[in-house]
């Protein structure tokens, strides 16, 4: 700091100033927020000391309720009360029809591929519903720590596909959050366990949540968590247990399939309660209020329950076997199995998994909280509160990514379980003389046929110079970033003409849709778009100022000559002067100018880091 005298007296620019970062477990049934306080990760309760926030949102005329309040209305106002919205994230209207769920909502008929649920508060998309949950959790973190939230890590099922991840990120954007990373839930759980126990070895994380199932195999070695493989089913979870029990009750009580929404909601609630009761008790008593107001009474014992859910548990075994095979391991090479997610409270699940992996499952951390705790630890590191921390997570992409080729077949470009970030390119060519355009269809999945994979995006590369068939060299590049999100670019190289296209998943929201939602939510919050943009730029300016100040303090003198410092110093001071102004265009330009002026410095810094890491190697070469 002494170097450039960048900060005004009293302005806090201390390089390692503690920032507030939170981990958010955005669950199917319940959500949680956690943070690291005095070195300890802990979940944050609401004012009534409740840690879980039911992932339920109720839309009223003028108001939105989230959590317990909405939960209590779920059976009386089912159409306006949205539960388990996570199952709809990144799904198209078509997908939802094939999910086979009897969803107690009314979907709006419309042109957009993103489904919208009709409520008295207007039509809402799953992204908007999720954003409401995120807002409540963020507000809870800010209120309980009395500080502004600088960044969040949001967890997603490892088996979430690209569209589902993008939808989650969109929801965070809508909620106005700075997303440091999307983190896979089993990896988050491993972090919470790994740091707790500090054990090197190979761990299996069995994560059965409300609506999703994940299995991850990872190796922990000296602070590095390396995911070896992951598998799962993004539409299998505790909800299915409830549904199967509800089906059994309907059969026993003679309830017809065409029962009303409210009846179905009550059934699901009672089925869930019975399931939970059977965790400790051998039998669960049932008292079901029927549509005519009369009651049906019955009993469900554990043996019957086990028999009912057995097929669901068996359904989780195929992904487990595949994950082992992908990791090149057998079940007996797994050192321990960690149980994550509320559904792993079911004793039969634990029993079956203990049998499969040949080791009693680990359950010492509350399976509801472990994911949020791990996310909080990672958020704390990513925001920069622990610059010396050695922990590193190396995750993989869960599903193969490819492109459609002739005959409706998929050519894989990035196979599943490849460590991310990753970029792979493949060359294609034209098949007709004079062909000037090429359709590119991006797919995700393991099957050979296009129709069996998930279509992520279609786009066209145009303006290919006319050539004979086979002469064009079209390079299609797939890049998966550290959030597991895919970017595809295509360019024709032989002629020197470059055309490249960035794609977003076809099931995602378009930028204009997000903008529209933002506007709508502003109308609620009495805040306008410009005010939001300005605030965003001010926050960004602050971030850039802090990042640069701490970089310069660390190595500015070593890496830059006096002459090189001058222009950086100038643009830095320009940004500092503007950062509190209310001209967001000017702030934006100043940020861009500053970033431009330090480009070479940033490259130099990163190279210095690499050289340092490589020099470290040489030192131990001598020691070997």
């Amino acid at each position: 700091m002494a170097l450039l005298q960048l900060s005004e007296p009293g302005q806090s620019l201390a390089p390692h100033q503690h920032k507030l970062a939170a981990g958010i477990d955005l669950g199917t049934t319940n959500s949680l927020v956690a943070t690291v306080r005095s070195g300890q990760a802990e979940t944050l309760p609401d004012e009534q000391a409740r840690h879980l926030l039911p992932s339920i949102v109720r839309y009223l005329d003028e108001q939105i309720e989230v959590g317990y309040e909405a939960l209590s209305a779920a059976t009386t106002d089912p159409l306006n009360t949205i539960a388990s919205v996570k199952r709809l994230m990144g799904r198209s209207v078509e997908d939802i029809k094939t999910l086979g769920d009897r969803l107690p909502y009314e979907f709006q008929q419309q042109d957009s591929v993103v489904p919208r649920i009709h409520t008295v508060g207007g039509a809402v998309s799953p992204v908007e519903v999720s954003a409401e949950i995120l807002k409540v959790l963020a507000a809870r973190a800010e209120a309980s720590l009395d500080s502004e939230l600088n960044g969040v890590v949001i967890t997603v099922p490892a088996y979430f596909d690209d569209a589902q991840r993008q939808a989650t990120k969109d929801a965070a954007q809508l909620a106005g959050l700075n997303v440091l990373r999307l983190l896979n839930e089993p990896t988050a759980a491993a972090v919470a366990y790994g740091l707790d126990q500090g054990q090197d070895g190979i761990h299996a994380i069995y994560d059965l949540g409300g609506g999703t199932f994940d299995i991850s195999i990872l190796r922990l070695n000296q602070g590095v968590f390396e995911v070896l493989s992951t598998g799962g089913d993004s539409a299998l979870g505790g909800d299915d247990f409830d549904r199967i029990v509800a089906g059994w009750i309907m059969q026993q009580a003679g309830i017809k399939d065409d029962a009303g929404h409210a009846m179905l909601r009550r059934l699901m609630r009672d089925a869930c309660a019975a399931k939970e009761a059977l965790t400790d008790a051998e039998t669960a008593q049932l008292d079901i209020e029927l549509e005519d107001g009369s009651h049906w009474q019955g009993e469900l014992d554990r043996a019957t329950f086990n028999q009912l859910v057995e097929p669901l548990i068996r359904k989780t075994l195929a992904p487990c076997r595949r994950a082992l095979r992908d990791a090149g391991l057998t079940a007996d090479e797994i050192d321990d199995v960690v149980m994550v997610g509320g559904s792993t409270r079911v004793p039969y699940v634990r029993e079956k998994m203990g049998e499969f992996f040949g080791t009693p499952p680990l359950v010492n951390i509350d399976p509801d909280k472990v994911v949020a705790l791990g996310a909080a630890i990672q958020a704390d590191i990513l925001i920069g509160n622990k610059p010396e921390d050695e922990m590193l997570l190396l995750d993989v992409n869960p599903l193969s990514l490819g492109i459609e080729t002739m005959g409706g077949l998929v050519e894989k470009i990035i196979p599943r379980n490849t460590t991310i970030p990753v970029a792979r390119a493949q060359e294609f060519t034209t098949f007709k003389d004079g062909q000037t355009a090429m359709a590119i269809h991006v797919l995700q999945g393991e099957r050979e046929l296009v129709t069996d994979c998930r279509s992520l995006a279609r786009f066209e590369l145009r303006e290919i110079p006319a050539m004979v068939a086979g002469a064009a060299h079209i390079l299609v590049t797939f890049e998966v970033d550290a959030d597991g999100l895919l970017h595809v670019t295509a360019k024709e190289q032989s002629s020197g003409v470059e055309t490249s296209v960035e794609v977003k998943p076809s099931y995602g929201l378009t930028d204009s849709e997000i903008e529209g939602m933002l506007r709508a939510s502003m109308a609620h919050a009495q805040e306008d778009m410009d005010a939001r943009r300005l605030r965003e730029q001010q926050v960004e300016a602050k971030r850039v100022i802090e990042a640069l100040a701490s970089a310069l303090a660390a190595d500015g003198e070593q890496l830059l000559t006096k002459e090189e410092q001058e222009p950086i110093k100038k643009s830095f001071q320009h940004l500092v002067a503007l950062s509190e102004s209310d001209d967001y265009e000017a702030i934006k330009e100043a940020i861009e100018a500053l970033e431009k002026s330090c480009e070479f410095y940033v490259e130099r810094r990163m190279n210095a880091n690499i050289h340092k890491a490589m020099a470290g190697q040489k030192v131990d070469n001598f020691n070997d």
Binding site: N150, G151, L180, R181, N221, Q222, V224, R314, L317, A318, R321, R322, R325, Q378, I381, L382, I383, G384, E390, L392, L393, L394, T418, T419, I420, P421, V422, A423, E479, D481, A482, R543, V544, A547, E595, C598, E599, V602, E603, M606, N607, N609, I610, H611, K612, A613, M614, G616, Q617, K618, N621
Partner: protein
């Protein structure tokens, strides 16, 4: 762009050659990822994020190439100036081709076996031991390093490609069996 002009072996401080100390490779990889991984730059500027993603991507590519014997052999041949695309895959070893046909026939018949899993394990073992033999061969060919030896190495690479493809097909079949359970 980052200063990543070094070849993959130099990047990890390893001698250029087919035999790679896998522990050392893993250690070097971790050290370098700790310096460049996007998690180190999660709250940094867009430029730093971009650079770190490029650097980390390259490290992953380098590790993947050096870790897998087939990719490593192909990369080495490339470093030695052998153009793998020029000659196509030509296997002149008739015995090898015969054996491949047998293995393929066995694969086709797995589902009819009384214990298909047992048949798969059997097949996998044979593929594995075959692969091991080829890896010893190619290691010697690279050790010799003469242009004749490198030409032979090219043929060995083609053989390894055969076996890799076959073992991928065996795994697919196993997956199919799992799903039917």
């Amino acid at each position: 762009m980052l200063d990543f002009s070094k070849n993959y072996f130099e990047l990890f401080g390893l001698p250029v050659g087919f035999e790679v100390d896998s522990n050392r490779l893993a250690d070097r990889y971790r050290e370098l990822q700790r310096a460049v991984h996007p998690d180190r730059y999660a709250n940094a500027t867009e430029q730093e994020k971009r650079l770190s993603m490029q650097g980390s991507t390259r490290l992953n590519d380098a590790l993947n190439t050096l870790k897998k014997p087939l990719l490593r052999a192909q990369y080495l041949l490339e470093l030695k100036g052998v153009d793998l695309n020029a000659k196509g895959s030509s296997i002149t070893d008739g015995g090898f081709l015969m054996e491949q046909m047998e293995l393929r026939e066995e694969l086709a018949g797995v589902k009819e076996q009384a214990d298909p899993y047992d048949a798969i394990a059997n097949l996998m073992n044979r593929i594995r031991s075959h692969t091991q033999g080829l890896l010893r061969e190619i290691s010697e060919q690279f050790e010799l390093g003469t242009s004749q030896a490198l030409e032979q190495a090219q043929e060995t690479v083609s053989k390894l490609q055969f076996l890799n493809k076959l073992s991928a097909q065996v795994e697919e079949l196993e997956e199919e069996l799992d799903e039917a359970l």
